[in-house]
Symmetry: C2
Subunit: 235 residues, 2 copies
């Protein structure tokens, strides 16, 4: 019997955007598969219901694969794939393997010789980058900045310096309830001429994407509290 | 009259993959728009024919916006957008604004207060990253490596060092006819334990994505000549 594949399946970033952001190949793939590795079964079920009207959810085998999962579980799941049963990895939002435990499954798949197939879907990192108008030939994503004040100030200053040293665009994020604080810190510690793009609620009805200089952001009043935001710094 | 928008419209990476990689919102948007900024009119026409069967191509205004275009042209196009006529930016392959002149239009749009809307589509950088199984919380894309032997060797050594220093995954590419040379150089200058993902012909029928250690790549024979490849280094 020929081996199955490990499909990396992106999900929507915003409510009511399923049709808008996912290609039809995702819907037909979800129709086909009956074996999924997910972080949270409840939200995975909801996604599958949105992606496939006809799918009989009860026929699906869900395996919870989260940050507490061990490599042994990955190996067991992938042994089934080698025996011919394809496995879909679902992220909670956006692309699996970027900021979720899916990457461990992918790593193991390569070790075991399981074919990995990345599916196209929304990535807030990439959408923020292209919408920022900043240098896309050279960029870095560094996840979350440190929380502690001193460390955070020096992390911001270092990113800001890197922009001028190597023309590398800097992308990062924050826990949503601390967004306003981060925006304030950026206006405090960056060069006033540095450009900042705030990309908020990407792909949602009320998507807000604005690039301006740090000195102009200082004069702006925006409310980013508890909203998903990607921050992009550049020149 | 209310202002139009600047839509960033991704295109396919591989032949015969239009339906597979683009969400339906791209097709309806292409149906609607009659004003496009493109690098090459011929390939833009072909894309639009694939994306919209009913579109009357002769009714479309194409403006060539390439690396020789000046900011003055961007301003003129965007003045029309401010007057209510939405403009679509098409890339030659993948997402506009990453490795093409579209970024200049986006930069100017922010300066002029034109709303920028990034549409979802395939990005070989992101697909390679998620399929590599490497750290997606911290990564950098650095475009093309230097061509000259000495500079290239030190660029590779620097990237390799950065992986161990900061756990930052490194993504880069090469002009397709020099891919095999780059693979050889990577096996020569990286730590034998470093992992390399070669992501070739992403989203095509013959997609090839393989992650293994540099020491294992040394024993492999692959032919990457003239194929689109994204290289990902990590641990």
């Amino acid at each position: 019997m020929s081996s199955g594949k490990l499909y990396l399946i992106p999900t929507e970033l915003a409510e009511n955007s399923t049709e808008k952001v996912l290609p039809s190949s995702i819907f037909s793939l979800v129709d086909e598969l009956d074996f999924f590795a997910v972080e949270n079964i409840r939200s995975a079920r909801r996604f599958i219901r949105r992606a496939s009207e006809e799918k009989v959810i009860d026929s699906i085998q869900f395996e919870v694969f989260d940050k507490n999962s061990v490599k042994g579980l990955a190996e067991n799941l992938l042994l089934e794939v080698l025996q011919g049963r394809s496995l879909g990895v679902l992220s909670e939002a956006g692309c699996p393997g970027i900021a979720d435990p899916g990457a461990v499954l992918v790593e193991k798949a390569h070790e075991m010789g399981v074919k990995v197939v990345p599916m196209v879907g929304p990535s807030s990192i990439l959408l923020a980058l292209i919408a920022s108008g900043m240098n896309g030939q050279n960029f870095a994503f560094s996840g979350y900045l440190p929380i502690q004040d001193g460390e955070r100030a020096s992390a911001i200053k270092k990113l800001d310096k890197e922009i001028y040293r190597s023309n590398q665009t800097q992308i990062f994020m924050e826990t949503p309830y601390r967004n306003d604080k981060l925006l304030k810190d950026l206006t405090k510690f960056c060069n006033p001429k540095t450009k900042l793009c705030v990309a908020c609620n990407i792909t949602a009805e009320d998507e807000y994407i604005e690039t301006m200089s740090i000195q102009d952001w200082k004069k702006m009043k925006v409310n980013l509290h508890k909203k998903p935001v990607m921050f992009v710094l550049g020149k």
